[in-house]
């Protein structure tokens, strides 16, 4: 468990003045990640996307640490190269410092186009923390569907219309794919619970190998809600079990946040414009299938974590 008093002493390593939207979850993720790193030196890589373009408008930068962006689909591969250079230079005595490597990618750059490079990097065992700030669509190019977009959500390439009602497929379960890589640490987290997330980042940075955190990151623009509701909506995702907070340490599952009372999924959906069309009476069946899908997944997760079940 992270201690707020201790954390407050940690330096701010992402400066204000970046150009993310008001209420954007991505900035919160980046800032809390670096607070979690404390005084450990880090080198950051970032896939193309909102976080990258908003924080590095040349000649400015919001990053106080070394930051590198090369392209959209390859942040994990790029980080592999940096981490390998580090091991080489360290072995040769050219570098003395203990440095950690953190990569940020949006869901598009992680679930879809970047999946191969992410998988390769994890399989090769580079000591790096990959954080997917998952806002469930390609936001930077204008809210297109991704493999992380949930069923029923309206996006600009899976729009709700007269005969189709937003994305027709379920979201891909990337966290399970990462668990299947048998890496030492995998977790799901969410914006709106700093303690849960920061503790996970600290655990991930401590393991001697690859680690992955998938953090649900509301996007006020793509999800269409009031900027001040980011935390509220994010917490509702956990309280409705749409996005459970759990971790898998060396193959052992643990649910980190168990809702006192499991709320119906519509509590999460109704605050967001992207699900607006689902509340028409003729779409009631879609809401039902969404609820059913969430229940099944939540049951499975509970069974997996019940007796410290191994992956």
């Amino acid at each position: 468990m992270a201690n707020l008093k201790e954390l407050s002493k940690n330096p701010e390593r992402l400066t204000g003045g970046h150009r993310l939207c008001a209420g954007c979850g991505a900035g919160i993720v980046a800032r809390q990640t670096l607070i979690a790193a404390g005084s450990t030196p880090v080198v950051i890589t970032n896939a193309t996307g909102c976080l990258e373009v908003s924080t590095t408008v040349f000649p400015y930068t919001a990053w106080k640490d070394s930051f590198f962006h090369s392209a959209f689909e390859n942040s994990a591969a790029t980080c592999s190269g940096i981490e390998t250079a580090y091991r080489s230079l360290k072995a040769q005595g050219k570098i003395k410092d203990d440095i950690r490597f953190i990569t940020f990618g949006g869901d598009g750059g992680t679930y879809d186009i970047g999946l191969q490079s992410l998988s390769g990097a994890m399989e090769r065992g580079h000591r790096m923390l990959y954080i997917c700030y998952n806002n469930e669509a390609y936001m930077n190019t204008g809210i297109q569907r991704s493999g992380a977009t949930p069923k029923g959500a309206h996006t600009t390439t899976a729009p709700a219309g007269k005969v189709r009602q937003g994305k027709e497929q379920n979201k891909k379960d990337l966290t399970q794919i990462m668990i299947a890589h048998d890496i030492p640490y995998v977790a799901q987290a969410y914006v709106g619970n700093w303690n849960d997330f920061i503790t996970k980042v600290q655990k991930a940075l401590a393991v001697d190998g690859p680690s992955f955190i998938n953090i649900l990151t509301p996007c006020r623009l793509g999800w269409a809600y009031k900027p001040e509701d980011t935390m509220l909506i994010s917490r509702l995702a956990v309280e409705t079990c749409v996005w459970p907070s759990f971790e898998v340490e060396n193959g052992v599952y643990k649910i980190n946040v168990i809702p006192k009372e499991k709320k119906p999924v519509i509590e999460f959906l109704k605050l967001q414009g992207r699900f607006k069309h689902l509340f028409r009476s003729d779409n009631a069946h879609i809401l039902e299938t969404i609820q059913k899908g969430v229940d099944e997944k939540w049951d499975l997760l509970q069974r997996r974590s019940a007796v410290g079940c191994r992956a």
Binding site: F58, W63, S70, G81, T84
Partner: protein, 401 residues
């Protein structure tokens, strides 16, 4: 017959791939990231054995694709490491996006590239379509005529890339050089190491006392200047290539230039060509000279930066020139090297030579002395006015009907 030209040199029998791997062993980069592809596979395979045997201190990353090979090499280079990779054909094509990022970020990566045809149809044999496809990527491109040159070019490339702050690729023709055993003179490890020197990057990501942001978004207000600086760096690279060549000659005794003029000074007809075919053409030039025909050859060694003024000067006195392209640009007009040469002549006000374009050897199709004799015969006719020079691409040794 190859003789040692360096007092401490050693003659060895090696294939192109083996000797490129040997150069890499001597250079001992900090990081090599690569993915296998015929006919370049052996290079990184041999190198990974050096790593496995502890012969080099380098780290080897066996990535899951060429896109990631270039991405990891870029990461390593940005981090402050001497970083290398090797590939060919489809591999280079898969790297395309990242090639531009390597040069745009001014990273001195060195790549061993083995020339191979591009799909479709799939073909594993030698032509230069792959590197010609990457000609505008902002990479220095150095072509080798044989294994000796491949070895020497790799050593020079390391210094060139770091001085020019530009990624540099050294090519060998697939199978013709990569898999052909030749006698090559290698130099002692210590002398190669002394020649390339220590790599001390000005700024690098792992320098945590001086953290910085690299690869930021560059909008209308800066992007153009950065691209201009890249173009200027390529212009400046010409002198860097020449300086390194001079130093190389002083150290190891082998002379290199942007181009090689073979019997060109008094030639009336000439062929301009890149890579291993220059060796075949030299044999033909010797034969023709014995018959009193004033044939010459211009071998382009450094294709990027393109030695435009030098080539115009070298060809100004020739009556008829044939540019041989081992790649077609499918432009509907001419192949790449021809277009570059004609533009160079025109821009330098050289209007004397008639210039014809021959595409040859695609997908490893044979090119032999007979074909080259045919070209010189045609040049003789064009030079004497008995034949008009063709203003379209001619294809050698292809079944057209």
């Amino acid at each position: 017959m190859i003789k040692t030209v360096y007092s401490k040199g050693k003659l060895v029998a090696k294939t192109g791939n083996e000797v490129v791997a040997e150069a890499m062993r001597q250079i001992e980069p900090d990081v090599v990231a690569a993915y296998p592809i015929t006919p370049a596979t052996e290079i990184v395979q041999i190198f990974s054995q050096f790593v496995a045997d502890g012969i080099v201190k380098s780290e080897y990353v066996a990535v899951e694709s060429e896109h990631s090979a270039m991405s990891a090499t870029i990461g390593a280079s940005a981090a402050g490491a001497r970083a290398m990779t090797g590939t060919s054909s489809q591999g280079l094509s898969l790297m395309w996006e990242m090639l531009y990022i390597a040069s745009g970020l001014r990273l001195p990566i060195v790549m061993a590239e083995v020339n191979r045809a591009i799909s479709a149809p799939i073909n594993i044999h030698g032509d230069q379509s792959d590197t010609m496809g990457a000609r505008d990527a902002g990479w220095i491109q150095i072509y080798s005529e044989n294994s000796q040159e491949a070895y020497d070019n790799m050593i020079q490339a390391t210094r060139i890339a770091e001085k020019a702050k530009l990624p540099t690729l050294v090519t060998t023709d697939g199978f013709i050089i990569s898999h052909c055993m030749e006698v090559v003179e290698t130099y002692p490890d210590a002398d190669v190491k002394a020649f390339i020197g220590k790599y001390e990057p000005e700024r690098y990501l792992l320098d945590i006392k001086k953290p910085y942001t690299l690869g930021s978004i560059d909008l209308q207000d800066y992007y153009f200047e950065h691209r201009y600086q890249l173009a200027q760096a390529m212009r400046n690279a010409k002198n860097i290539v020449l300086d390194v060549a001079k130093d190389f000659e002083k150290t190891f005794g082998r002379k290199y230039d942007l181009c090689e003029k073979y019997m060109l000074d008094d030639a009336e007809i000439a062929i301009a060509v890149i890579g291993s075919t220059a060796g075949t053409a030299k044999v033909v030039v010797n034969e023709l000279r014995e018959k009193g025909i004033k044939a010459g050859l211009l071998k382009i060694r450094v294709y990027r930066p393109f030695p435009a003024e030098e080539i115009a000067k070298d060809l100004a006195h020739v009556k008829a020139v044939a540019v041989m392209d081992r790649a077609d640009s499918c432009s509907g007009a001419f192949a790449p090297v021809y277009s570059d040469i004609v533009a160079s002549l025109y821009a330098s006000g050289v209007t004397n030579p008639k210039v014809v374009n021959y595409v040859y050897g695609l997908g490893g199709r044979e090119i032999n002395t007979g074909h080259i004799i045919g070209i010189y015969e045609m040049l003789c006719k064009i030079a004497s006015g008995t034949e008009k020079s063709s203003n379209k691409v001619e294809y050698i040794n292809v079944r057209i009907k």
